[in-house]
């Protein structure tokens, strides 16, 4: 019996009788983080990092059964030692390790190696089997340094002040939005958050400190908005309120902005290459640091990335499920591709 099996419902540990980020309703689920493609409705019991739980309850309902597990604390399920480790993806995001008789699996969920200042930074966990994502598993994805991004955002804000325009940043409500808030607050801009972003902020604020901001409403005067920043979700692009805020510029914040084609097609004035996922180098570093003898690749450029890992002398394969390798829904960055 393998410690982890890839089943129709998702990743399953038969010995512990628990699933990780399952796609279908099951009795016990460990959730790596609160993004919708990992944390789904319908599980009888959820185990997650304490920071994830308020967001999950907000999204899935206050009545879900949850159990919190801090980083580096272990629980045992039928002899399997289970721990959470920081994944650096968004606040509360965790890698799950499962250990039994010398075999140790790490399911990384989504992760990135850069310290974004709001998520607990990624920690490599030595293991025998590593399940990695590959959202940006191609060598063309190479993220700029944090300072370069900050500098770009500073310059953009300065140009907004000069032209007396509002800056509208489209960012995913959980993770990306808070990162943008933090960087933008450093530019001295006033931050306005759109409702979906603000509800998520409220969930996160139980546990982490976020910059001062005001929830956007249509009564705000144009003068108040000028030279300042509104953060909204990509779904609200072109919404009616955007036509009432006066002259403004738009920005997208995503790893996909690295490619000229997606940047242009996104129809925004500005594209910031900022991602919550590891870039090519990040993935490679993470895989090496685990020292894993076997790597499973999911979420993204699975075929290419596993072929590459194999060519590096590490045994890798694409995660297969009962439905084939593509049952997984798109993750938040893939959704941004539209």
């Amino acid at each position: 019996m393998s410690l982890i099996e890839f089943k129709e419902e998702g990743l399953f540990c038969p010995r512990a009788n628990v699933y990780i980020d399952p796609w279908k309703p099951v009795a016990k689920a460990i959730i790596t983080h609160a993004h919708a493609d990992h944390s789904r409705y319908g599980m009888k019991n959820y185990l997650a990092h304490p920071w994830s739980i308020p967001v999950m309850k907000h999204r899935l309902g206050q009545d879900i059964n949850t159990q919190a597990l801090d980083f580096h604390q272990s629980i045992s399920m039928n002899g399997v030692k289970i721990m959470l480790h920081p994944a650096g993806h968004i606040p509360g995001s965790a890698q799950v390790s499962l250990e039994y008789k010398g075999e140790k699996w790490v399911v990384s969920g989504d992760y990135k190696l850069e310290n974004d200042g709001i998520s607990t930074p990624f920690e490599p966990v030595p293991c025998t089997h590593f399940v990695t994502e590959s959202t940006f598993g191609l060598p063309v994805f190479d993220w700029p340094e944090e300072e370069v991004l900050e500098e770009q955002m500073h310059r953009w804000r300065a140009s907004l002040v000069e032209s007396q325009k509002v800056g509208v940043v489209y960012a995913y409500a959980l993770g990306k939005a808070q990162r943008v808030m933090k960087t933008m607050a450093n530019t001295g801009a006033r931050i306005f958050t759109h409702a979906a972003v603000e509800r998520t902020n409220e969930c996160l604020e139980h546990n982490i400190e976020l910059p001062d901001r005001t929830e956007f409403n249509s009564d705000l005067k144009k003068e108040e908005l000028q030279g300042n920043i509104i953060i909204a979700t990509p779904g609200s692009m072109g919404a009616r309120w955007t036509k009432k805020i006066g002259p403004h510029e738009t920005a997208s914040v995503s790893g996909w902005m690295r490619m000229r084609g997606t940047r242009r097609r996104s129809n925004v004035d500005m594209g910031f290459v900022m991602s919550d996922h590891a870039d090519w180098k990040g993935l490679n570093t993470a895989v090496k640091m685990t020292g894993a003898e076997k790597v499973f690749v999911t979420h993204g450029y699975t075929e290419v990335y596993s072929k590459w890992i194999n060519s590096q002398g590490i045994n890798a394969e694409v995660v297969k499920t009962a439905f084939g390798d593509e049952k997984e829904e798109q993750n938040e960055e893939q959704k941004e591709l539209k």
């Binding site: 191609l138 063309v140 690295r258 490619m259 450029y301 290419v304 439905f323 593509e326 829904e329 893939q334």
Partner: protein
């Protein structure tokens, strides 16, 4: 280059055309004339010749980035643009690699094609290592010759008009023609006396589609109705005793149409005609397919001229007695045009007929029969209108036939390419024959990105089976396919082949059961099948196609496909055609020439992996040996544009 790189960056990041125009004006103001000239040249499609083979660039880039070739190709496949892929993969971020001026940079590139590989590599790497990602991208664009960074021509003209203080019509006229940036100056192009350039055509006036709600307001008496012919829009310019034939794409095609040069000899000096180049047997217009055999051919065998003779159907006259008469009304210009055609003794010049009927209903009835005349519908022109330039609304409308359409069920899906590489966007459709779904068409375009996403997720969730890259899916989704033509084909299981099929809309309101049947398609076939040319059997047409292609070094994948499709459509084998009709050519030689052809296509173009896969497919269909083909493709990657020698090919075939 700094100004130019900034310009490109601004153009790329600005979503409003006003800002793009501002950026262009700013560039023109800041730059010296030679840079302005090259900038205009690049944005009007006049790019410098490729100096270094793409295959070499790829290999240097892969080497610098320490990537295997397959990984480079995968990256290219996803990015979809070679220059950008290389800009992203080179692992350096430097400064100072580019020359300070655009024209200096281009002049430095021009002699590179005579350098040996080592020298080329040294120069390219020096730039790559000493530039940032975006500078590298612009440099690579210049280097690979694939300049597809877009500024709408309209906007370029607006910017130049603002900068130079001339009106837009004059600027548009100046940019026409085949001026060469390496021999022209900015002054000659933009500031010289207009009469100096005899060949210069006028900007074409183009029409938008007729908006149906306009019809009630239009008084039929004010409008001239003409057929909208399915040919190539062109201009014949006769000045200083010389004749020039231009296409709407501003390509000078005089040599390709000796019939029209002959026509020109009978025109008076100082005459410019606007019209349609069509294949015409003296009695009627022949299918566009035949005209395709004349496009982009360098050699014109007598047989081809006899099989696809062209004529010019004149719509309008723009210059008479050396005077620009575009400002006159259509009625006045038409009187002039009638005089000109009467005076001209050439049989190749025809006058576009003005169709006079009484009611909209009469026109509607005739329009629906356009296909029988080989027209695509009507052109409506206001009788009092001047000849404008560019695409404008108001005075001219095209009233085209609706495409044919049919509701079909999605049954197979394949991944797309470029930005769609991760999505299932290439579909095969089927119609009902009894209880069975018979595949009959493939289509890749017509849906919005959001719809493609939705279909993609449907495909992933409803895959029934996988055959290589192809998924068969639960037959559930129904799409309306639109197409321009329908023909018989014994190669397809359905017995039917469509011309230009695309998805017109997703019929979410229909279930698979409600899709059309093969019977419905057959009815359409009976009504609308495009008859093969009366003057030539499909087989001799195919042979002639093969001959012309073989005589031409510049064929590309698209043209090969035309031939392949033609052969398929008429259930002919290219190989048989070669063997039957060209007995002097040994079978082996016939096949060899196809290897040469495929090699040329691969070696010359900016061909991406999926295109080379479709060439492979063509080769295999032609009966070429797969492993030999692979080797030829490898050779083409190694050699770049160097021709394949017979020894090399023989070695491969052994």
């Amino acid at each position: 280059m700094k100004n130019f790189v900034t310009l490109i960056q601004q153009i790329e990041s600005q979503s409003s055309s006003k800002k793009r125009i501002d950026a262009l004006v700013e560039f023109f103001e800041k730059s010296e004339p030679a840079d302005r000239l090259w900038c205009i040249a690049l944005f009007t499609g006049k790019r410098p010749k490729r100096a270094v083979k793409n295959a070499l660039l790829k290999s240097w880039c892969a080497e610098l980035a320490q990537l295997d070739d397959w990984l480079f190709e995968e990256s290219y496949h996803v990015v979809g643009d070679l220059a950008e892929t290389m800009a992203l993969l080179v692992p350096f971020d430097g400064a100072g690699g580019l020359k300070s001026k655009l024209n200096e940079q281009i002049k430095a590139l021009l002699p590179m094609k005579n350098f040996n590989e080592e020298e080329q590599k040294e120069q390219v790497l020096a730039v790559w290592k000493n530039s940032n990602h975006f500078e590298r991208f612009v440099f690579n664009k210049l280097l690979t010759g694939g300049w597809r960074i877009g500024v709408a021509k309209k906007n370029l003209i607006k910017a130049l008009a603002i900068f130079s203080g001339q009106d837009e019509t004059a600027v548009a006229h100046r940019l026409m023609g085949n001026w060469d940036p390496s021999t022209t100056t900015y002054h000659e192009l933009m500031e010289s006396d207009m009469d100096e350039n005899l060949a210069r055509p006028y900007p074409f006036y183009l029409a938008y589609s007729l908006e149906n709600d306009l019809k009630p307001e239009m008084n039929l008496k004010d409008w001239q109705f003409e057929w909208k012919w399915d040919g190539i829009r062109g201009q014949i310019v006769k000045r200083g005793g010389e004749c020039f034939v231009w296409t709407r794409g501003e390509e000078l095609v005089s040599e390709k149409y000796p019939e029209l040069m002959e026509l020109g000899a009978h025109l008076e000096d100082g005459t410019v005609l606007d019209g349609e180049i069509v294949v015409h047997d003296g009695a009627s217009v022949l299918p566009f397919q035949l005209l395709q055999t004349r496009i982009s051919r360098k050699t014109l065998p007598k047989k081809l001229l006899a099989q696809a003779p062209v004529k010019f159907i004149a719509y309008d006259q723009l210059e008479a007695n050396g005077e620009d008469i575009r400002a006159l009304t259509l009625e006045e210009r038409r009187r002039q045009l009638i005089r000109t055609t009467k005076k001209c003794s050439s049989k190749e010049l025809l006058l576009s007929e003005s169709i006079e009927l009484k009611t909209w209903q009469d026109y509607e009835d005739l329009r629906l029969r356009s296909r029988a005349f080989r027209a695509e519908g009507f052109m409506l022109k206001r009788k009092t209108s001047p000849y404008e330039d560019g695409r404008k609304k108001g005075n001219w409308w095209k009233w085209k036939l609706d495409p044919l359409s049919i509701d079909a069920v999605l049954i197979y899906a394949m991944r797309g390419h470029g930005r769609r590489a991760n999505l299932f966007t290439d579909y095969t459709f089927a119609v009902w024959q009894g209880e069975e779904l018979v595949p009959f068409a493939k289509a890749y375009s017509g849906l919005t990105d959001a719809e493609f996403k939705e279909v993609d997720s449907f495909v992933k969730k409803n895959t029934v089976d996988k055959f290589g890259p192809v998924r068969s899916v639960k037959p559930e989704l129904v799409f309306e396919l639109a197409f321009e033509g329908i023909a018989h084909s014994s190669r397809h299981k359905s017995g039917i082949a469509l011309r230009f099929p695309r998805m017109a809309r997703w019929r979410k309101d229909k279930t698979a059961q409600e899709a059309n049947s093969l019977e419905d398609l057959r009815t359409l076939l009976q009504l609308y099948e495009q008859q093969p040319s009366r003057t030539m059997s499909p087989k001799s047409h195919l042979i002639q196609l093969v001959q012309v292609v073989k005589a031409d070094e510049n064929i590309d994948a698209a043209e090969l496909k035309i031939i392949q499709d033609y052969a398929k459509k008429h259930d002919l084998s290219i190989e048989d055609a070669l063997n039957d009709e060209l007995p002097q050519m040994e079978k082996g030689d016939g096949l060899k020439s196809w290897y040469h052809l495929l090699y040329t296509c691969l070696a010359d173009g900016e061909i991406c992996p999926s295109e080379s896969a479709s060439l492979m497919e063509i080769g295999v269909n032609m009966g070429l040996d797969v492993s030999a083909l692979r080797k030829v493709i490898e050779l083409s990657h190694q050699n770049g544009t160097v021709p394949l020698t017979d020894e090399e090919l023989n070695a491969v075939l052994d």
